[in-house]
Subunit: 347 residues, 2 copies
C-alpha cells in the first residue's frame, strides 16, 4: 500500500527483515548478503497505491521445517503495516517435505460414499447440552443423511459435557444410525486442547470410533495439526476450524489472504477440509474473498491433495442452492443452528 517508491522500499525491507535481519552495510560477507536475503522478482501496481510483489527466498533459509517456512513467509513482517501475504509458491523440493492431506476431497468422498455432489455437515450445538443430548442430536442428524457431524468448536471438556463421555456416546449414536440407514456418516469430535490432552483426546477419539477430528490451529498451532494429520496410528480426516485466526484475514491490505491462510496453509498442515465464514452470514467476508479461499483449497501444490472448502457461519437451509451454485459441487455445506430450526418445525 502506497506509492511505487514506497512499495519498492517495502519490498527491500521484506527481503532483509525476513532473512538476515541486519543492516546490509554491516554484512561484510557478500555471499551471505547475496545468497540469503530475499530476492525481489516483480512488482506490479494492481490498483492505485496498491502493489503486488513477488519475492523469492532461498530454500536453505526457509528450509523444510513448517515453523521456519511460516517465519520466513510472515514472521517479523507481521509487525509492519500494509503488507499482506497473498500466496505461497513453494518449490517441489519444499513441498516434498510435507505429507499433506491424507484424504483430501476424493478420499473424504470415498469415506462417506458420496462420489459426487456437495457434502453436508452439521454442528452439535448449543454449548450446554449434556453428552446424552449431544448424542441424541448426532443420531438425528445422521438419520437425516448428513455426511459429517462435528462438535461445536466450543465443546472442550467442560463439567457439563465431558469429552470422553460425549465422544463415546456420540460415536455410538452415529454408528447406530449408520447401521439403520446403511450410510457412512462421520462423527467429528473437537480435540482442540492443550498439547498433552490434544494427543490423549485424539487417541480416545480413534478408539471410540470417531470418523474425523476437528482442530483449531489458531489455538494449538498449525504444526500440532500437522503432527496429528501425519500420524498413521490416527489416520482420520481433519477438519480445520478458524477460531483465533480471523484477525489475519480481516483487513484486505494486511495479514494473510484467505487463499493462503484457509487454503494453502491448512493443506500444508494436513487438513482435509477447512471451515470459514461464508458471505452473507454472521461474519464480514465478501464473495470475492470466498472465491479466493476456495481457489486456495485446490490450487496445484505438487502432491498435496485439494481439500474441501466448508462455508459456515449462520447459513440457512434455503441458501443451499445459491451456495452450491457459487462453489460448485466440491464443497461441504456446514449448516449449524438452522438445521435444528427446520428439525423443530418438522417435529
Amino acid at each position: 500500500v502506497g506509492s511505487r517508491a514506497e512499495a519498492e522500499q517495502t519490498v527491500e525491507d521484506i527481503t532483509i527483515e525476513q532473512t538476515i535481519e541486519f543492516p546490509p552495510d554491516l554484512v561484510s560477507d557478500s555471499e551471505i548478503r547475496d545468497r540469503l536475503t530475499g530476492r525481489p522478482e516483480s512488482l506490479q501496481e494492481v490498483r492505485p497505491n496498491l502493489h503486488q510483489a513477488v519475492i523469492s527466498f532461498a530454500v536453505e533459509v526457509a528450509g523444510v521445517e513448517f515453523t521456519q517456512l511460516l517465519n520466513v513467509a510472515f514472521g517479523n513482517i507481521s509487525l509492519k503495516r500494509s503488507i499482506r501475504l497473498v500466496r505461497l509458491d513453494l518449490s517441489d523440493g519444499v513441498l516434498r517435505s510435507f505429507r499433506g492431506p491424507r484424504f483430501g476431497r476424493r478420499g473424504l468422498r470415498s469415506l462417506v460414499e458420496a462420489p459426487t455432489g456437495p457434502l453436508y455437515a452439521a454442528a452439535l450445538k448449543p454449548l450446554g447440552l449434556s453428552p446424552r443430548q449431544i448424542a441424541e442430536l448426532a443420531y438425528r442428524f445422521a438419520m437425516e443423511g448428513i455426511h459429517l457431524i462435528k462438535d461445536d468448536h466450543g465443546l472442550a471438556d467442560q463439567p457439563f459435557c465431558r469429552f470422553d463421555e460425549r465422544v463415546s456416546l456420540a460415536a455410538e449414536a452415529v454408528r447406530r444410525a449408520n447401521g439403520e440407514t446403511g450410510r457412512k456418516c462421520l462423527y467429528v469430535p473437537n480435540v482442540t486442547a492443550p498439547l498433552s490432552e490434544l494427543r490423549r483426546r485424539t487417541r480416545f477419539a480413534v478408539s471410540a470410533g470417531a470418523g474425523g477430528l476437528l482442530i483449531a490451529p489458531g489455538l494449538v498451532g498449525f504444526d500440532a495439526m500437522r503432527e496429528i494429520a501425519d500420524d498413521d496410528s490416527v489416520a482420520l480426516p481433519i477438519l480445520c476450524h478458524p477460531a483465533f485466526l480471523g484477525t489475519f484475514v480481516i483487513n484486505a491490505d494486511q495479514g494473510l489472504s484467505q487463499f493462503a491462510l484457509f487454503g494453502q496453509i491448512p493443506r500444508l498442515a494436513g487438513a482435509d477440509a477447512c471451515i470459514f465464514p461464508h458471505y452473507g452470514g454472521r461474519f464480514p467476508i465478501s464473495p470475492g474473498e470466498c472465491k479466493d479461499l476456495a481457489e486456495g483449497t485446490a490450487v496445484p501444490m505438487a502432491h498435496l491433495r485439494p481439500i474441501f472448502p466448508v462455508p459456515a457461519g449462520g447459513m440457512r437451509k434455503e441458501r443451499v442452492p445459491e451456495i452450491v451454485d457459487f462453489y460448485g459441487s466440491e464443497v461441504i455445506l456446514l449448516i449449524g443452528a438452522d438445521l435444528q430450526r427446520c428439525g423443530e418445525k418438522r417435529s
Copy 2:
C-alpha cells in the same frame, strides 16, 4: 467501534458467539442460555464511536484449559471487524491452573546476578554466519558484559548453521567467557521448530548448558511454550519472540492489545521475558502502546510473576538512556545489529 446502539449489539453478539454460538430463541433450556452465555458487565464510551465493554464468562465454559480460555476470549470474534480484546481479568481459580513464569523478573535477575538496573541482551546475527562465527560473536558479547545472548529468531537448523553444532559451540563460548569475567551471562538458543524437534532441541540445549530458550509462540502455539516452561526437567528462563503475531496488534481497533498479547498471555504461557518492537525503530508502534505492553508484563495476576519487557527492533546504543527513562530499570534492552556497529568501530 461505532455508535452506542452498535456497541450494544456487538456486546450481545460477543456474549453468544463466544459461548453457545446459537440463536437464543432456539435454546429452549433457559438455564443454558442464562448460565453459559457471556454477561455484559459495563459499556463505556472512551472516545466518540469507540466503546469499551466488560464481559464476563462462566468458568465452566472457559474452563481451566489454555486453548479453551483463548477460544472464549477471542476465538470466533477474531473473524469480526472492530472488536479488540483489551485485557483479560481472570479469577484466582482460573489463574491457579497456570504455573506461570518460573523465574519472572526477580528470578532472571538472580540467574544473571544483577539485582538492580536494566539488563542487556544481544542477538546473534546476521543469518548466514557459521556455528563457529556465531560462537565467536557470543564470546565477544559475553566478554562485553551482556546478560543474555540470544540466537536470531531466524536461526533454525539451516545447512549453513546446524542447531546442534551452533548451540554446543555458543554455549561453550559463553561458559568460557563467564569463566574469565566471573559473570553469569546466559546463552539463549532459538528452539522454535516443529513440535517433535522443539522438544528434541530443548533437551539438547539443556544438556549443552544453554542458559535460556527463545520461543516464538506465533509459530509453535502458546500452549507449546507453556508445556516447555512448565517442564521441570528443562527449568530454563523462556524468552518470547513476536514472529507471526504482529497482525493481532497492528490495528488499534481490532485484534488484541499489546497489554494482553505481549504482557498477559505470555505470562500465562510461562515466558519470563517478552520481546517486542520499541517505538522509533524499524516497526510501527507508539509510545502509548509500549507503555501499555509494559504494564501487561507486571499487572497483578495472582501468583503469576511479573516478567521483563524486552524492547527491540532496530535499537541504537545511544538510545539506552532514553529507553531506561521510558520503562524504568525493570527492562531488558535488546540491541541487535547496533552492538556490532559499535564493536567494529572499536576494533
